[in-house]
């Protein structure tokens, strides 16, 4: 029973990271129709930024994380402006190929600058907490709490503020939003800033537990794509629920079956779903 609770808690923790990454991706893909494959590389960049700020600059972990989120939001804006805006009227596949190019730039740039070795974070919150009879480190609890806070903040931002309303309007109908006087270009930049900042937050949160290395974004981005295809493009609840589900499935199958094939398992689910319903589980057309 203790193993089960441990795995469930681990799954929820993994799931919060997946949810945050998938949220950013679902905003970009669902609202702007940009399959931003670079998202995983930006996740990695966010982890490195936090790592460098926390170790070399000696900042407090949370300060480092906030600065890293802001820096990545800026990178997201620049990327949208320089790469995705010129491709705005092209087919999404052009953006997809451009994204692959940027993966090379970020991942191999990180490999060149920081080397292939795994970086270990100085432990942040190592206190041990008793939950339902099992012990768990405080960091894992904090990850879950921060994720929930961020999700609530995002929800409030989109639903309660005027700026958030422009994002929602653009998601529903880009042409209509433009006719209503909404600056769609600014919305695009904002969506990218939000998405990449969320990815940076997710990476920074998990970095003290997992290790930081240039290839860390690859599996995560594929899983985020799995989540948003299964959960429905642009659906925020879909991304959140899908993220937690995938985290649970992965940690339980890893705990009880085998860890070597868990990627085969999650991608196998996607491929099967796509084969049966080529537009995703909740895809309309």
């Amino acid at each position: 029973m203790s193993l089960f609770i441990q795995q469930v808690l681990n799954g929820i923790m993994l799931g919060s990271v997946y949810s945050l990454v998938a949220l950013g991706l679902t905003l970009e893909y669902g609202i702007l129709h940009i399959p931003n494959f670079t998202h995983g590389a930006l996740y990695m960049a966010g982890a490195y930024a936090t790592f460098l700020l926390a170790t070399s600059a000696g900042l407090n972990f949370w300060v480092a994380m906030v600065i890293s989120m802001m820096a990545l939001a800026l990178i997201g804006i620049v990327m949208e402006r320089l790469v995705y805006r010129p491709l705005m009227l092209e087919s999404p596949l052009s953006s997809f190929i451009a994204a692959i190019g940027m993966i090379f730039i970020f991942v191999d740039g990180a490999l060149y600058l920081f080397g292939p070795d795994f970086k270990r974070f100085p432990p942040v919150h190592t206190q041990v907490v008793q939950v339902l009879g099992t012990t768990i480190t405080l960091q894992r609890i904090i990850i879950i709490l921060v994720t929930v806070t961020l999700i609530v903040l995002l929800h409030l931002f989109i639903k309660k503020t005027l700026v958030g309303a422009t994002i929602e309007a653009t998601a529903q109908d880009m042409e209509g939003a433009r006719l209503m006087g909404i600056n769609v270009k600014r919305v695009r930049m904002m969506v990218f800033a939000l998405g990449t900042a969320l990815a940076a937050a997710a990476a920074s949160l998990i970095a003290p537990i997992h290790l930081v290395h240039p290839g860390m974004g690859g599996p995560v981005i594929l899983k985020a794509f799995v989540i948003i295809i299964l959960g429905g493009m642009g659906s925020i609840p879909g991304a959140i629920i899908g993220g937690f589900l995938l985290g649970l499935v992965e940690s339980l199958s890893g705990g009880y079956i085998s860890t070597a094939y868990h990627e085969v398992f999650s991608f196998g689910v996607l491929v099967t779903v796509l084969a049966i319903r080529p537009t995703g589980l909740f895809g309309g057309k």
């Binding site: 999404p92 692959i100 799995v226 491929v271």
Partner: protein
């Protein structure tokens, strides 16, 4: 006429190269150019001519390479039957993956095939009883000599002989793709690239046509993989990784997608440059990334497309 003459001259030049290039290093680069050129050319059929961004191409290259390696090393088969069987195995995988993945369209197809690529690599990496996993397959021999009628034989131990083998395979690939593109079949591929619904409305069975294009391209990817396996003699799971797919994609994009010569030019250019820069501390893949982004934004047709546009402008045929 002019075009044919140039192509003929180029082929003659390619055949004459081993007579005046004796350096093993330069021959090695040429052999790699031919192998990558074959892989990129075959990817061009499904991606450039049929318009389906297949991101599992590196997996098929790896499946071909591993099938040949395993057939030769574990079953003790001769190279030539192993080559044919490996291509057949690749085609079988291509058939099943194609049937599943081709139901999806656009970005979904790209993501779906990419997931297939990851699955294939993970299986090759984890199924250690069969594939030796991360240790890799060692000691794949060069092709067995072909006996000739009058007692002699064609051996493939020397560099020039292997160069001729890959060169002929490359020309064969190009010839097949050329014939396909200029046939009714190729026209139906291009019709699907243009507009799938419209193509269906004039009686093109889109699933069957896409599957055919997918199959042909996987067979040649498998063939390139087999030649790679027996040339390098060592295989590791990375050879089926999606980074290999991305490299093929870059060859196609830089050279010019949907043109016969484009992927070949891209593969030759980038392979030569990166092999010559071997050991120089240049982050090669970062440069590839910049090249890819710049190409997709400013020069959609790649080198060949750009040259065609320039030619039209110079000869004044651009403005009518």
């Amino acid at each position: 006429m002019m075009k044919r003459l140039i192509v003929l001259l180029l082929i003659l030049l390619a055949f004459a190269i081993p007579f005046f290039v004796t350096s093993r290093f330069y021959l090695h680069i040429l052999i790699m150019c031919c192998i990558w050129g074959m892989a990129a050319t075959s990817m061009n059929l499904i991606m450039g001519y049929t318009g389906q961004v297949n991101l599992a191409h590196g997996a098929f290259f790896g499946i071909g390479a591993y099938s040949a390696g395993l057939l030769i090393l574990k079953l003790g088969l001769n190279f030539w039957p192993a080559l044919i069987l490996a291509c057949a195995i690749t085609a079988a995988f291509g058939f099943f993956i194609g049937i599943l993945a081709l139901r999806t369209k656009g970005s979904y197809f790209a993501i779906g095939t990419m997931c297939f690529n990851v699955i294939v690599t993970v299986i090759i990496d984890s199924w250690e009883e069969l594939t030796e996993g991360a240790r890799g397959l060692l000691g794949i021999p060069r092709p067995a000599p072909i006996p000739l009628l009058f007692g002699g034989q064609i051996a493939f131990t020397s560099m020039p002989s292997y160069y001729y083998l890959v060169l002929i395979s490359l020309l064969l690939t190009l010839l097949v793709i050329y014939r396909i593109v200029h046939s009714m079949m190729g026209r139906s591929f291009m019709a699907i690239r243009g507009n799938e619904e419209l193509a269906e409305s004039i009686g093109i069975h889109s699933m069957r046509t896409k599957l055919l294009s997918f199959l042909i391209s996987t067979v040649f990817a498998g063939l390139a993989g087999v030649l790679y396996a027996s040339y390098i003699g060592f295989l590791s799971p990375e050879i089926s990784d999606y980074h290999i797919t991305f490299e093929f994609l870059i060859f196609c994009m830089i050279g010019g997608l949907g043109t016969l010569g484009g992927p070949l030019i891209g593969a030759f250019l980038l392979t030569v440059v990166s092999e010559l820069l071997h050991g120089v501390a240049v982050p090669r893949l970062v440069a590839y990334g910049f090249l890819l982004v710049i190409t997709i934004i400013f020069l959609r047709g790649g080198i060949v497309g750009g040259a065609q546009m320039l030619w039209l402008k110079v000869s004044g045929r651009g403005e009518r």
